[in-house]
Symmetry: C2
Amino acid sequence: MGMVTVAAVQMACGPGADGNIERMEHLVRAAAAQGADIVLTQELPATPYFCKDQDPAFFALAQPVAGHPLVARMADLARTLGIVLPVSIFERANTAYFNSLVVLDADGEVRALYRKSHIPDGPGYQEKFYFSPGDTGFQVVQTRHGRLGCAVCWDQWFPECARTMALKGAEILLYPTAIGSEPQDPSWDSQGHWTRVMQGHAGANLMPLVAANRIGRETGHSCDVTFYGSSFIAGPTGEIVAQAPRDAEAVITARFDLDAIARQRAAWGIFRDRRPDLYGSLLSLDGGP
Amino acid sequence: MGMVTVAAVQMACGPGADGNIERMEHLVRAAAAQGADIVLTQELPATPYFCKDQDPAFFALAQPVAGHPLVARMADLARTLGIVLPVSIFERANTAYFNSLVVLDADGEVRALYRKSHIPDGPGYQEKFYFSPGDTGFQVVQTRHGRLGCAVCWDQWFPECARTMALKGAEILLYPTAIGSEPQDPSWDSQGHWTRVMQGHAGANLMPLVAANRIGRETGHSCDVTFYGSSFIAGPTGEIVAQAPRDAEAVITARFDLDAIARQRAAWGIFRDRRPDLYGSLLSLDGGP
């Protein structure tokens, strides 16, 4: 695919969707102005992270992909700027609800719909109340600016997901995110843990990885969460190439030679030496057989 | 399993096995004197890293596990010190040759034999000339001082191996290693890459990880390799807890509460939320079906 510039943007989300989407568009334009070909925005950018609480009222936020106003507006933006733009939405599909990612290509067309496969559940992150585990499988999407492995937030903790996208030909891994404090334990800060696990995916699969997280303190009915930003771009040995602050709006970019990285990946021999005959236990939950 | 102290030791290997084994025993005793319950030594510690060259003469170094002099001596040492001691050997098994790890329990008994599953091949690291890919599958070994996931060197690059050991109940991951410079490209230093990928395994599986590497410059027929040491111990979020220098003999230790880590692992929810129904492509080489 040659040279490509990737960007991650991060921001706080207020109560009003219009204001959030204005800020999001402003940041995407700023990234494109810095030369970005692919711009990653955070998970569920149109609203506060409503999963802090189990509140049935929030199901009203979900909308189908077809005619989704955020998708439509971002499709215009992607086409105007000639950028690839994955957009995270709360998707309603008949009676089902998903945490979904719509991958918009640089022509503004929907190139893929991915439904988040791994759904977290814990204090501050009550996602199993809202979202069914995704039914699309992991998605690798051919776009104008490269073959992208696109997953969502909690998926980023699973080596299986990153490896599967790599095996299916991904050249870059992308993870929109909403992660921050643990309301049940103010001393618990997972930012380093979060970063290191994804650096591991980048290094193990020898490919760049982009994570975009939100910032800001959000107050729910039952708890507060302070999102820790720290969006980052890792290179193909897992090294941090660019990183945003914990608490400020940001646009970060990095430029990669995907052909050179593909040669490096082949030369290192990892994919040559895999042993699928020994990996059967990965298809179990309990390590059997 | 409660509290356990793990150690990694690193050293240079000279041409004479006796001298190497003396130094190895000295370092293992030093680690035990620092309270270590489990001591990890490097890959193939009895000899120079002969895989720099493809030389049939080196097959004469291989010996069966039964009656292996290094294993016998280390078994005495493990029993005397009451430590768990995995020992890396070049194993001959009838007509087959393996890069094997004999896991000695604190009573001096052989608790498991693991044969390295992933075999590298490239300038300076001609392992496919000597070793068949291991046929034991990944091993998790119940010892007096914990349930250990034991693999060898190149295995450390494969998230599949670490995850499988975690799924089978490992509490700590151990990797004896021989890695250093790339003779074909003196500017290529994989130490950071090597470290980050294993930090990723520790963080993704929420368990400590120990890597022991050799040091020193070794001259082969066809090339030289400078082993970069940097043996390290990572904690359950992938953080570096202890790390040895690149170029000096060293003993490093760290103490962990394995019960507390098991609670942390369950609370984080990663193993609860896996999606084996979506992982089928991991059993392929090419990402199919």
